[in-house]
């Protein structure tokens, strides 16, 4: 397997006309790629080190050098690290070569950039709008530094150009954006033959608020508060990814006690969410009793969170440079006792649900996402591990104290609702175990290190395996310790399109169940 140094040597001798090949860390290689060489470079990485672009970031740097800067973060297979390619796009010719036909995920990043920056990916086969809905002015690109606040929104009644399926007996069912139940908004359009779904189109971005723009010129404290509110149920994971990016930028290492406490916090978040999801999957099969008890356990955990961290969703306990709150001996004993009780109770609920034949019948074979599709769509997190993809950033890109803890990555191969349920069940157990281990091994010492001023114009990423999957934050330092650009990738961004495939050939009434087994974030996707 290629490592970063080996790759540098190969790139040096590969005659790809690259500039500034720099090994920034043992797991990170940075390189400048001329715009016209991008496709060739991407193909080289794909064939040589099986790298895929996990994140594409555009930045309006016209004020600095009259150019846009694009960054492509390629993740190499396994745990080899990342390659970050930067590409300059001159302001007078705002186009860049598209990677859309090579990677589907890239096509969606490019559509986003097309909407928000007005940069045109040349050769992109589908430039329908993504984050901005139809009634936004076509020449409004809000992430440009000089974009004015606009009021000329005009709905001409022209609908989004959904892909239509026609044929005898085919009809459409539309759902949303406001759904029944207590969930976020999104629009789904099913083409159905009888009860069988033959196509699903989803339209997201109903809760697009412009978070990335709000990060710009924010202070670190404001940035942290925003990060905690990107996706409410992933407050720790997003705050942690943001903090790690900032720490990488500032070049600091957090104290060991903070590293272990971060593990505890992240796993607490994973635990309460996974337990709630298991209950929610059961309730969507009509087995409400399991959900009632799973919700009871989640409430126990949320109350524990409040006792430990002062906030039920664990907000306000992280800090770039470390953690903001310490746990005393009593709190630790409280946490260990409660989590042991919850874990035992949870096992009973799982046992009851998974021995019920009617429940099982709903789970097995429903909403199957096969491994090849999952790989090609760059699905990540829980759905990826349920489709046989053995990837987990806690192991492959260790952060906090994960390198020191014996982590078991849960992988199932069936790819159906059952597999996604079991991944959650086993990861919940694993989270309970990791919390115990981390609290046991908790080193003493300080909680945080002070940060120096962020280097202006420099950029770094933070990567965290949240309970949904890997979360990327790309942070560019600005003037006077503010932020110049922050790009966020929630795992939901990669996983939403996979749902449209998993549901094919399933029946309409199974959609809520399949959807719940993915349980993707709308807020994290829409930003």
């Amino acid at each position: 397997m290629a490592d970063v140094h080996g790759l540098k040597q190969r790139l040096d001798s590969a005659n790809l006309n690259l500039n500034n090949i720099e090994v920034r860390s043992p797991r990170e290689l940075r390189v400048s790629v001329p715009r016209q060489r991008l496709v060739g470079f991407a193909d080289y990485l794909r064939t040589e080190v099986h790298a895929r672009p996990e994140l594409i970031v555009a930045e309006d740097t016209r004020l600095e050098d009259r150019r846009f800067t694009m960054r492509y973060i390629f993740d190499m297979e396994g745990a080899a690290g990342v390659v970050i390619a930067s590409v300059s796009v001159p302001a007078e010719d705002p186009t860049f070569p598209s990677l859309a036909t090579r990677w589907y995920l890239a096509s969606r990043f490019e559509r986003e950039i097309h909407d928000l920056f007005g940069l045109v990916p040349t050769g992109h086969p589908d430039l329908r709008r993504l984050p901005l809905h139809q009634f936004w002015p076509p020449d409004y690109h809000p992430l440009l530094k000089d974009a004015m606040v606009r009021q000329d929104f005009y709905d001409d009644g022209e609908p989004y150009p959904f892909r239509r399926v026609e044929g005898e007996g085919v009809y459409e069912i539309t759902v949303g954006p406001v759904h029944a139940g207590i969930i976020e908004p999104g629009h789904f359009r099913f083409s159905v033959e009888g009860e069988t779904i033959i196509n699903l189109e989803s339209r997201m971005y109903f809760v697009h608020k412009g978070i990335e723009k709000l990060f710009e010129s924010a202070t670190l404290v404001q940035g942290l508060q925003l990060a905690e509110r990107i996706s409410g149920d992933s407050s720790v994971a997003h705050a942690l990814a943001f903090s790690q990016a900032v720490e990488s930028l500032a070049g600091v290492t957090i104290p060991p006690r903070a590293a272990y406490l971060r593990v505890v916090l992240l796993e607490l978040e994973r635990l309460y969410n996974h337990i709630a999801d298991v209950g929610a999957i059961c309730t969507d099969t009509g087995f409400a009793v399991a959900n009632a008890h799973a919700l009871r356990l989640r409430e126990d955990l949320l109350r524990l969170n409040a006792r430990l961290a002062g906030h039920r969703l664990l907000r306000g306990c992280l800090l770039p440079g470390g953690v903001a709150r310490d746990f005393g001996a009593e709190q630790i004993a409280d946490a260990r006792g409660l989590i042991a009780r919850v874990a035992a109770d949870f096992d009973q609920i799982v046992e009851i649900a998974t021995t019920n034949g009617l429940v099982l019948d709903r789970l097995h074979g429903t909403g199957r996402l096969n491994q090849q599709t999952a790989r090609e769509m760059q699905v990540v997190g829980v759905p990826a591990r349920a489709s046989g993809i053995d990837a987990d950033a806690r192991r492959d890109h260790p952060f906090a104290a994960y390198a020191a803890l014996p982590l078991r990555v849960v992988v199932h191969t069936e790819g159906d609702v059952w597999a996604r349920l079991m991944v959650r069940v086993e990861e919940a157990r694993e989270a309970a175990r990791l919390i115990g281990l981390a609290l046991e091994a908790l080193p003493s010492g300080t909680l945080a290190v002070p940060l120096d001023a962020l280097p202006e114009g420099e950029a770094a990423f933070g990567l965290v395996e949240g309970w949904r999957g890997p979360i990327w934050h790309w942070v560019v330092g600005g003037k006077k310790n503010t932020l110049r650009r922050v790009k966020i990738k929630d795992p939901s961004f990669a996983n939403w399109p996979a749902l449209n495939y998993a549901i094919l050939k399933n029946i309409v009434p199974d959609f809520p169940l399949v959807n719940k087994s993915f349980n993707l974030s709308y807020a994290g996707n829409d930003l």
């Binding site: 059961c282 099969t285 087995f287 009793v289």
Partner: protein, 314 residues
């Protein structure tokens, strides 16, 4: 004459006010089984009272069918209450209490509700209607066949006659055919009333709904009538099951004491049924929609067996 009218009114009132209570009891029992306190048993009454006072919002696209259907539904249920032996086998209109007439009354309601679901023009309404009609088509024959199974043994298709006969000769019920007919009817009662494992009355997921999907567009008193009618249908189905298969207590004469005993007996029987439904709904999941025909085909077969045994095992 006056007494006869009084008895009919009594039966009707019982169905009208007993049905929300029955729904409330089932919900309460389910809440307790889920480890919650749940709402009081009178909650459905409070819901109905509130809905009756609310504004009715109707989409412009709907026709008269949409507005007419709730009244029709409530009327068919009240008519059924007149001809079914709820308390007594000697109800004045009981002579019309023939199982086929009853089925047609129920079907009329189902038919119009399905039309109303389509009428609203929403995707869910149409979806619910298509599912409801498919289930009704599979369920209704079972009801007829199962009741024929016991009617053959009783020698009459009149509901009053069946109960009178069984009350007089309880040993007639002691055979496999009777049990088979009971199971077939119980399953159909669950399917017809949108209970688990066929439909989930507690769900909020539009895409999975059957009955609820058709009534998503209703509001105010129209919704109250539809929900009330649904409650009455459940009440009538369970009353029928109680009185046909456990005829003890049903008044054979229209004098106060037997009527009072009948009232108490019915209350006890319905409470037991409510408990059974709550337990069943707690321990099962919802069937995948395509398994529902299998379940109903199964219940049809069971009903058919009940008829066959009536012929062969005398």
């Amino acid at each position: 004459m006056l007494a006869e009218i009084a008895i009919e009114i009594l039966q009707m009132l019982l169905v009208m006010f007993g049905s929300p209570l029955l729904v409330g009891v089932i919900r309460k029992a389910k809440a307790r089984l889920q480890g919650r306190r749940g709402a009081g048993v009178f909650q459905p009454c409070a819901d109905l009272r509130k809905l009756l006072a609310k504004e009715v919002v109707v989409s412009e696209n709907t026709s008269w069918i949409f507005r007419f259907t709730p009244y029709l539904l409530a009327t068919t249920m009240l008519l059924s209450a007149l001809i079914i032996p709820v308390l007594t086998v000697r109800a004045p209109l009981g002579f019309m209490g023939n199982i086929i007439a009853l089925m047609y009354l129920f079907l009329l309601g189902t038919f119009f509700l399905a039309l109303a679901g389509l009428d609203a023009g929403s995707a869910f309404g149409g979806m619910g209607s298509s599912r409801e009609v498919a289930i009704a088509a599979l369920a209704e024959p079972t009801v007829l066949i199962a009741i024929f199974g016991i009617a053959l043994r009783a020698g009459t298709t009149s509901l009053d006659g069946i109960i009178t006969r069984f009350a007089a000769e309880p040993l007639l019920m002691l055979n496999a055919g009777h049990l088979l007919a009971f199971f077939a009817l119980f399953i159909v009662a669950l399917a017809e009333n949108g209970r688990l494992p066929v439909d989930n009355p507690a769900t909020h997921l539009e895409l999975t709904m059957i009955h609820e999907a058709m009534i998503l567009e209703y509001s105010g008193r129209l919704l109250a009538l539809v929900e009330w009618a649904a409650g009455m249908k459940l009440f009538l189905f369970l009353t029928l099951l109680s009185n046909l298969f456990f005829p003890w207590g049903v008044a054979l004469t229209n004098t106060p004491l037997p009527l009072f005993v009948a009232f108490l007996a019915l209350a006890v029987k319905l409470l037991l049924f409510a408990g059974a439904i709550a337990l069943a709904e707690t321990s099962v999941a919802k069937l995948r929609l395509f398994r529902v025909p299998e379940l109903l085909a199964g219940s049809f077969t069971v009903a058919l067996l009940a008829v066959v045994t009536a012929f062969f095992i005398k």
